[in-house]
Symmetry: C2
Subunit: 213 residues, 2 copies
Amino acid sequence: MDPAVTEPVRSRRAARTRAVTGDDREQAILATAERLLAVKPLAEISIDELAKGAGISRPTFYFYFASKELVLLALLDRVVGEARARRDDALDRLAEGPERMWRAAVGAFCATFAEHRAVTSASAVALHTNGEVRAVWSRVMEGFVADTAKAIEAERRRGAAPDGVPARDLAISLNWMVERVLVSTYGGQEPAVPEDRLLDTLLAVFLGAIYRS
Amino acid sequence: MDPAVTEPVRSRRAARTRAVTGDDREQAILATAERLLAVKPLAEISIDELAKGAGISRPTFYFYFASKELVLLALLDRVVGEARARRDDALDRLAEGPERMWRAAVGAFCATFAEHRAVTSASAVALHTNGEVRAVWSRVMEGFVADTAKAIEAERRRGAAPDGVPARDLAISLNWMVERVLVSTYGGQEPAVPEDRLLDTLLAVFLGAIYRS
DNA sequence: GCAAGTATTCGACATAGTGTCGAGTTAAGT
DNA sequence: ACTTAACTCGACACTATGTCGAATACTTGC
């Protein structure tokens, strides 16, 4: 994902001339948002709260962000970069054996989600509410799906995995499963897989779906 | 799910005395909601719209439902009953062979979701917004999960399926997968599995996860 | 067939949140 | 010092929610 697409998060403002203040405020808004998201969903956070938390008035908030969803998006951008890096790292581990690789790949997603659960959970929800969050999330998922499908096809070519339903369809289902299960576990929604069995369970489904004829 | 739990949807009003009018209005609200949900999400439907659509004023709406989420819930209740009936039907098909049974069980979910996509998609979204929808959805999922887990354990006992991760964890993951994949496909969210390959794909994951050692 | 009670209806109000406009202040660059 | 641009906020307009109380309509017991 090129950053350009999610860049126009900030309302206007060009290169920072004034030493700090502007960026400080922006960071203060982001920090406030992250803090509040750990406690309650985005829908229950008013712009006034974000502004107050950053020590500015409500109209001033709009100087920095056009909506609270865009604040979330800025937060999400950070996290996405991290997830991407970890995943790329995992995909290089095919040499260590397929199970190792899949564990690393699924684990990358799980770990990122867990470490930033406030932001990721809120995003998974905002997805249904906000078009821009939906677009970002779709692009992230698309990346994971494409890589997963490629890995499945590679395993099929080398004869390790049997043919079956289209690799891409399988990849889509598996990746959405990961997303949904993580949301239920970390969002406190029942029924949920206990956190400590998360990775083993998801991995079992991956391996079964990919390697069983 | 005992109906009693989701019964107090209506604000008050006891047994209908006045021949029809009251129930008619209530049905009109439900019909309006279902019609609008086919076009836009619940969040974009105002109570005023629902009231106008049913030919009443906004305050009068509150006589019938305490919130628009409760209207959705009433709609969902109908659908849940249908899904439950179909699923029960499917689980009796073990005699026809495991693949047949699983196809029927997953298909029951898919078919219900597809036939009432406006209501089910809206509910899957409201789940993240509304506590009561969340509770109903959780109970429905819990039912599916329990039955799925029981079926997996039965297959394991008769030696058809190998042991592995706890059956319940597997059941949770698989059922959330179905939910999430259906929402993406019917909610027009990318990436999505094309509608006509939905059942085959989900079934492949089920069989792989359950029967692969 | 009417008095009493209950079901139903809505106008009017109170409240909360969003987004915008325009007039201000502050700081940098020249 | 003066211009320009960054930044700030008071005040307004708008939309939606939810509630209260008074009015109307139907039903039932008498």
